[in-house]
């Protein structure tokens, strides 16, 4: 009896510890979120989405160029990272034990751990230096490099969860190895892979450091890929370190938009996964 009571107490204590840890993890998140909403919401208006930044001293204005810029950068990064990530993920899962696969897996893990500013410097050397000016393209490449390892590893892991008997089924019908991978294995793993892609998008849309030496920033409306381009994160950074009260308020509004974008990607990831999974089942 005594022993049972002790076990019960221990169990309760562990459950309590779990609850406390969850609270500890969530409390800062809620504080950040509510503070950003509180500070940002008052400065957020329709103008913020549609107008260009105003010079210092003039009230109003918005970040239309930065919002569009961020979307363009995310789009470019996706163009770079999704094909490369998907295909290398497929390779890793199809030939898991080859020497090249071991090297690719290790490289992806290292790349995933590299500080984002280093990725920025790399993209600077790769894209900015040869043409001698900042460009949206360079920013997209930098963000793309950050996405590649995430997509590669997610794709690999999710493909490994697909029963290998599906591959054999396709091969037995006369499919080549690559055909089986692209037409049977990949579609079967797609719901999860979509989640991985959206999570990686959420992750890079908040990056500032890799953009500082690549896409830089632009006070004007520009959608030209070979020119510097504004982005929400760099704009927030510039405004936040400025001494002007007006700009601070704009920065808070920008932060709110950014957090909402990340939130939206996360929600989208859940919805898309559910929807695709349901499509498979019925």
């Amino acid at each position: 009896m005594n022993r049972n009571a002790r076990r019960k107490h221990l169990s309760n204590a562990v459950v309590g510890l779990c609850g406390a840890s969850v609270a500890l993890a969530l409390v800062p998140l809620f504080f950040v979120f509510f503070y950003v909403v509180k500070q940002g919401f008052s400065s957020l208006s329709w103008d913020f989405f549609t107008k260009m930044p105003k010079p210092v001293g003039e009230a109003g204005g918005g970040m239309a160029n930065a919002i569009v810029g961020t979307l363009i950068l995310i789009g470019l990064a996706s163009l770079v990272a999704i094909p490369v990530g998907l295909i290398s993920g497929i390779y890793l899962s199809e030939y898991p034990k080859s020497k090249l696969a071991t090297a690719v897996r290790f490289t992806a893990d290292v790349l995933n751990g590299i500080p984002s500013i280093v990725i920025g410097i790399f993209a600077y050397a790769l894209v900015v230096l040869p043409v001698k000016h900042f460009s949206a393209l360079a920013g997209g490449v930098a963000l793309g490099f950050m996405m590649i390892p995430i997509i590669t590893r997610t794709t690999e892991e999710l493909l490994n969860l697909v029963p290998p008997t599906l591959r054999e089924g396709a091969l037995a019908l006369g499919a080549t190895r690559s055909r089986a991978a692209f037409t049977v294995m990949l579609p079967a793993a797609l719901p999860g892979i979509m989640t991985g892609i959206l999570v990686s998008l959420a992750r890079i849309s908040g990056e500032t450091a890799p953009l500082l030496f690549t896409s830089f920033s632009n006070r004007f409306w520009s959608t030209t890929l070979s020119q510097p381009i504004a982005s929400l994160t760099v704009q927030i950074y510039t405004y936040a370190i400025s001494p002007y009260e007006d700009w601070h308020r704009q920065a808070w509004a920008g932060a709110l938009v950014l957090v909402s974008v990340v939130f939206l990607f996360s929600v989208l990831a859940r919805v898309v996964t559910k929807r695709l999974e349901r499509m498979h089942r019925t």
Partner: protein
Amino acid sequence: MMEIVVNERAAETLVNLSATAAHPAMGAASLPVRMEARHLNFFYGASQALHDISILIREKSVTAFIGPSGCGKSTFLRCLNRMNDIIPDTRVDGDVLLDGRDIYRSDVDIVDLRRRVGMVFQKSNPFPKSIYDNVAYGLKINSTLSGSELTERVESALVRAALWDEVKDRLKTSALGLSGGQQQRLCIARALAVEPEILLMDEPCSALDPSATSKIEELIFELKERYTIVVVTHNMQQAARVSGETGFFMLGKLIEFDKTEIIFTKPRQKTTEDYITGRFG
């Protein structure tokens, strides 16, 4: 004619048994050979899984392989369409001939080989696609059929796999919504759609309940009119019911290979007799 065969399968089998027993020259032995293994050895890494297997597979008949788990019967089956090629660190020596040509020669088109030698797996493995797309898959990758031809071939494959009536109204729904037995018949339909000459079946009923099993068995019986079938099974009654010739595997060796009625009534080897009378395995 075929319906009669199916419905009165048991009676027919008995008649066949007595007929072939009376005239050993008749029956399976008179059919032409489609596949042949000669002194086949197979290795997973350093461990040898198959030892010196030689066997003849005859056209339009059912050849069954029985034996305890891990005896190599599935491994051998997978050698017949080179499905083991995808397992790293495996090695084959000896020959497997399809119509007299060695399928392990380097100039053999493995995609073409697998189209001619189809396979149905132990656990049904429908693709997470619609019923229609499952059956059309092999056709789409192997040929350039028009939409209407494709639909026709899909229907005829489903009819041959005795599944058409159950799914004709829901071809566009997911194959994963079918029952286990239906999924296995879908996999058979999918294999039949590409018109293989030989159909390998790796314990096709081991995950099914008795009524689904008997449907698949009836199907095998019907299909042998048109196809050469090789079936691996744990279930000795099944081998006795459906096959013309039976091979008994143990520990990677082919202990005995003969007409089914001989294996089950007067096997030459003591081990075979012990196994089929249930003394082990």
